[in-house]
Amino acid sequence: MAEAVVATPEIYENKQVLLDEIIATHRSRPGAMMVILNEIQKRVGYVSEPMQRYVAGKLRVPVSAVHGVVTFYSFFTTQPRGKHTLKFCMGTACYVGGVPQLMEKAKQLTGTDIGRTTPDGQLTMEVCRCVGACSQAPVVTVDEEVVGKIKPNKFQQLIKKLLEK
């Protein structure tokens, strides 16, 4: 079951081939733009401005329309991401349960701000909305996996593991 949901960004030498394939598969569906952008985000890992221009041209819509959608939704990113993504759940239970403290700890351990990628491209840290695992607060997600009930010392090991090449 797990395989079906893991979104490993595929690294393609020539992204254009991949974009063409994605656009060709979905363009005939009504309301295709969201579907295409979601697919690009999932498979390429980000939707850069040149990619937005390319999609707009192919779909024959203004670039502003594509850019508007990409910047509206928080799941789309315009820059490549780190090898791993660590997301801090900022749902109510997690907020109350100590995620802000974990974020301080993470900043200290990585020397990188939340919302940034470490200089070696290893780890991107972000905050995210409630992942629906409130009973396990505080929760972070590592790539697609939810890790709950985090204690400060356990967390330190987790970060160290993520920073290992």
């Binding site: 733009m33 509206f72 109510t92 995210c128 409630c130 409130c134 396990q136």
Partner: protein
């Protein structure tokens, strides 16, 4: 269909996986194969069975209905030999406590009735045949072969089913409105954009019993005359999306979706559309814009989606839970459903209990139970013996309720009258160590960020409210700021375009109403009574300190000094008030002062 003597449901909840559920599944497979039982016992992977914190990696064996908990890989050989080879229940591995949800598993909490959650954790969501075996798609067959659309609407109307998305509009009335619009084709949408922090009941249904939602949608489509449906699921729920897609594919194979369903002239198909992380898309006009591939911004109503929805055509939008309950109503009758609940709120409702209670998780209870029963009987009371302070119902746009409201019945009218709302059913319980100003600030931060920016009252208003709350939390507020807050809240509520802006000030308004003295303590005394707001507190190590140095090692800013076995000291200037020292201290010797 292949027949097995026994079915083993293993929880592969992320937390169980972390505790070795994958190894347990592997061990089960190996052991069963060794005893030649692989063809007799089927292993199924399912989502959470019991709270992993209490039950650890767990599994349930059917038909015996035995719940084994806190298993390790080493237990498996013995378990397989005893239970599956010799047919003896292994008492020592059995769960000591009974589960909160899942009435089939041991004694349920007396007050629970499971309708929406009836199949969760019991059937394999990847196998349509298991759903069918639980009377699945029987209601659909009855409807398509023996009822007119009007009769379906009548039956649902009589059941008193109200939309579970939050507003509580009668579902059948909505269907009727859409049916009457003389425009075709018609569309059906399912709001699976469960964005409220603290709510996860829809996720559970989508992941564990996707067919119930699909069946409900097909029935609704028949009643309305819709030919195409979209399930709009948030991107944060990848397993739900995957399971829905599998379920839709299987329903197509069985001829339950597509052309001429059950050999009738009714045709309907479904598609899952993924959101991309925008909370406002739970608002129905924003959801429709997002399905159309646009920015998820709401628009003024009327025209209502029933008249102009997806692609400008009549569209009916309901919540996951509303659809999931429809087949049961048609199968067991409107009278059965209407026999549960209160006068105006019929049936059952799922709630997600989170926060400072002993048993967090999902429950399903008939409307009308009191908040006290939910918190103390079903939820097990406040954690760590602390005192109840407030409960936030209805998500970030709901309001908080206090002690005096505890005997209110949980139904749409009572909550609205008390200044909160039902919302999608998230219940966040807070103990007396919660700062209500900080909670209001937290909810405001959420809605401010999620405001789509289309209308000014919400875009600017939520920002200004948040600024004021931050000022107060930082100890820089004045009494005039509190008046300003009230004025702003009122304006934003009255003038915003959609439910997000109209509801956003609710947490502020309700905390101001019930905890005004806390606001005053922040602005006049510059104190945070709950000792939460960082600018107003400081940490101090008390003489109970043993000098174990745990705090000093864990301090992110190295503000703690002291020799081994000597009392430590916190340098107040360096301290960032993160509170980690208090968390890690094994001797409760870090005091918070305000």
């Amino acid at each position: 269909m292949k027949f097995f003597r026994s079915h083993v449901l293993v929880s592969i909840d992320p937390q169980c996986l972390e505790m070795g559920a994958r190894e347990i599944v592997d061990a089960l497979n190996t052991e069963l194969a060794d005893w030649g039982l692989a063809d007799e016992v089927q292993i199924l992977e399912t989502s959470r069975i019991g709270d992993p914190a209490r039950f650890g990696p767990d599994l349930v064996v059917y038909p015996e209905n035995v719940h084994y908990a806190n298993l390790t890989v080493d237990d498996i050989p013995f378990l397989v030999e005893e239970h599956f080879l010799k047919g003896r229940v292994v008492e020592k591995f059995r769960a000591q406590e009974t589960l909160i949800v899942d009435e089939e598993l041991g004694a349920p909490k007396a007050k629970e009735v499971r309708v929406v959650l009836r199949n969760c954790g019991k059937i394999d969501p990847h196998n349509i045949e298991e759903y069918i075996a639980e009377d699945g798609y029987r209601a659909l067959a009855n409807v398509l072969t023996g009822m007119t659309p009007e009769e379906v609407i009548d039956e649902v109307m009589r059941s008193g089913l109200r939309g579970r998305g939050g507003a509580g509009f009668p579902a059948a009335r909505k269907w009727q409105l859409c049916r009457q619009v003389p425009d075709n084709p018609k569309y059906l949408t399912c709001n699976a954009d469960e964005g409220d922090p603290g709510a996860f009941m829809n996720r559970r249904v989508l992941e564990s019993d996707p067919h119930s939602v699909i069946e409900g949608m097909i029935i609704a489509a028949y009643a309305i005359g819709a030919s195409m449906g979209y399930i709009y699921c948030r991107a944060e729920y990848p397993i739900a999306v995957a399971n829905l897609n599998i379920a839709i594919e299987q329903a197509r194979e069985f001829g339950l979706l597509g052309e001429n369903i059950f050999g009738t002239d009714f045709s309907f198909d479904l598609e899952v559309r993924m959101g991309a992380g925008a909370f406002v898309c739970g608002e129905e006009t924003a959801l429709i814009a997002s399905i159309e591939g646009k920015r998820g911004e709401p628009r003024p109503r009327p025209p209502f989606p029933a008249v102009k929805g997806v692609w400008g055509k009549p569209t009916n939008n309901n919540n996951v839970e509303t659809y999931a309950v429809v087949p049961q109503i048609l199968l067991r009758g409107a009278d059965w459903y209407a026999s549960m609940g209160t006068e105006k709120s019929k049936g059952t409702k799922t709630f997600a209990i989170a926060g400072d209670v002993v048993h967090t998780g999902l429950i399903e209870v008939p409307f009308g139970l009191s908040l006290r029963e939910v918190i103390f009987d079903v939820g097990g009371g406040i954690k760590d013996g602390k005192k109840f302070k407030a409960i936030q119902t209805g998500g970030p746009m709901g309001g908080c309720l206090v002690e005096e409201h505890l005997d209110l019945p949980l139904d749409y009218e009572a909550l609205t009258a008390a200044g909160s709302m039902m919302g999608s059913g998230g219940l966040i319980i807070m103990d007396d160590e919660t700062c209500m100003v900080d909670i209001a600030r937290f909810f405001m931060e959420f809605t401010q960020e999620e405001s789509c920016g289309k209308c000014t009252p919400c875009r600017v208003g939520t920002r200004r409210i948040l600024d004021l709350l931050e000022k107060i939390c930082n100890g820089k507020g004045t009494l005039a700021d509190i008046d300003q807050l009230e004025l702003l809240c009122d304006e934003v509520m009255k003038n915003s375009l959609c439910g997000l802006g109209q509801g956003a000030p609710n947490p502020v308004v309700s905390t101001l109403k019930h905890f005004r003295e806390e606001y005053i303590a922040h602005v006049v005394d510059k104190k945070c009574p709950a000792k939460v707001c960082r600018a107003l507190i400081r940490y101090e190590i008390t003489p109970a300190c043993t000098g174990c140095m745990v705090c000093a090692r864990n301090c992110p800013v190295e503000a703690i000094s002291g020799e081994k076995r000597q009392m430590h000291v916190i340098d107040d200037k360096t301290c960032i008030r993160c509170g980690i020292c208090a968390q890690v201290c094994n001797f409760s010797s870090v005091a918070v002062l305000s």
